[in-house]
């Protein structure tokens, strides 16, 4: 899992490094931009993966994001951090794709291909007590079903906060909303899903 941005060691110096790389990339230094891609690819994938489910879509969007970033880089004024700008592009590209397809994000769908399942299976040894790929997928689908009671934006915020480790301030900046709004919506989203679980458990489902 990509480390939460706020927990990454030396985050301030990393932001400063990014500034330097962006500055160089703006002067057509491709190596500098390549370094930026290497640094941020995981988080872009994580953000896109939190909204889209299909692996191919996530990869396409991630590529599109970096292409867009490269060709718009000269217009980027570095008022915000490069990472924030990049994740904003990611969120917007994902939403555009979903709007085009008129699909709700995070819809319960088993979209993992056999290839993906094999990939994840190969990543860890199966041990007693450790859920295998199919069990994990089932758990994941269960969670996604639970989250269907939330609005799309609230779902995305919750995933960004609790799964991808973004801070409240980062979420506010990426989604272009007030920090207090983020806190309130997160709070209510958590309330709703925990209430839903309690009701479900009480009903004996």
């Amino acid at each position: 899992m990509a480390k939460p941005a706020s927990q990454e060691p030396g985050r301030k110096s990393r932001v400063e490094d990014d500034r330097e790389l962006v500055h160089r990339a703006q002067k057509d230094d491709k190596a500098a931009f390549e370094e930026l891609v290497k640094r941020h690819q995981s988080r872009v994938f994580a953000v896109a993966g939190g909204i889209l489910r299909n692996r191919e879509d996530v990869e396409d969007i991630a590529q599109q994001v970096f292409l867009k970033a490269y060709f718009s880089l000269k217009r980027f004024d570095q008022r915000a951090a490069f990472s924030t700008w990049l994740y904003k592009i990611t969120v917007n590209e994902c939403w555009d794709l979903l709007r085009k397809r008129k699909v709700r994000p995070l819809v319960f769908e088993a979209e993992f291909s056999e290839e993906q399942a094999r990939q994840y299976d190969g990543m860890e040894e199966k041990a007693d007590g450790v859920p295998d790929v199919s069990e994990r997928m089932a758990l994941r689908q269960e969670v996604e079903e639970l989250m269907e009671c939330l609005e799309e934006r609230d779902r995305m915020m919750l995933v960004m906060k609790e799964v991808q480790g973004f801070s409240v301030e980062e979420i506010a900046e990426i989604l272009d909303i007030n920090g207090n709004t983020v806190k309130v919506r997160l709070f209510r989203a958590r309330q709703r899903i925990t209430e839903r679980v309690k009701r479900r458990n009480a009903a004996g489902v």
Binding site: M1, A2, K3, P4, S6, Q7, K30, F33, E34, V37, K38, Q41, S42, F45, A46, A48, G49, G50, R55, V58, E59, A62, Q63, F66, L67, Y70, F71, F112, Y120, R136, M137, L139, R140, E142, V143, E144, L146, L158, V159, K161, E162, V163, Q164, G165, S167, V168, K183, V184, L186, F187, R188, A189, R190, Q191, I193, T194, E195, V197
Partner: protein
Amino acid sequence: MFDLDSRTKDCEKTLDELERVQLAGEDQVSGERLLGHLSAEARAHAARCLDCRAAVEQLADARNLLRPLTAMQAEPGPWFVTQVMAKIEAREREEEREGVWANVRRLAPRLVAFCTLLLVLGSTWAIHVKQKEVQQNKIEPYEALFEPSPSAPLNDDVMIGARPSEVRQ
């Protein structure tokens, strides 16, 4: 249920601190573990405030619920960076190739308009010059071109005009 509108400043401080708590790893999260990451002041408040204590438990439950989502996050493949850079270069080459034709396509309407204007102006100027020359009688008007030029008088005419004495001889 915690009524957000009734929260006090202490509640807000505690909830703010709670939001900042990030726990690495995939271990089960408990309310106690979260409280351990708060300041002494926030912990003391949570001990007194049932609503904040409930919020702590709720946060722990929510994080535990969402844990399965962390397990299978999409990760980029080993060639992702190479693919991105290759696509950038391909697009730059394409833009360079299209550059000239794109400029022509972009400028074509203006070129057509410019040429039309030149044609109109040129024709107007040529007609104006000709008219000026005609006015100054430097050349016959165009119509004169189609009239037969005055021919040399016929001998018959000369004979008709001659005196009889000149004719007999």
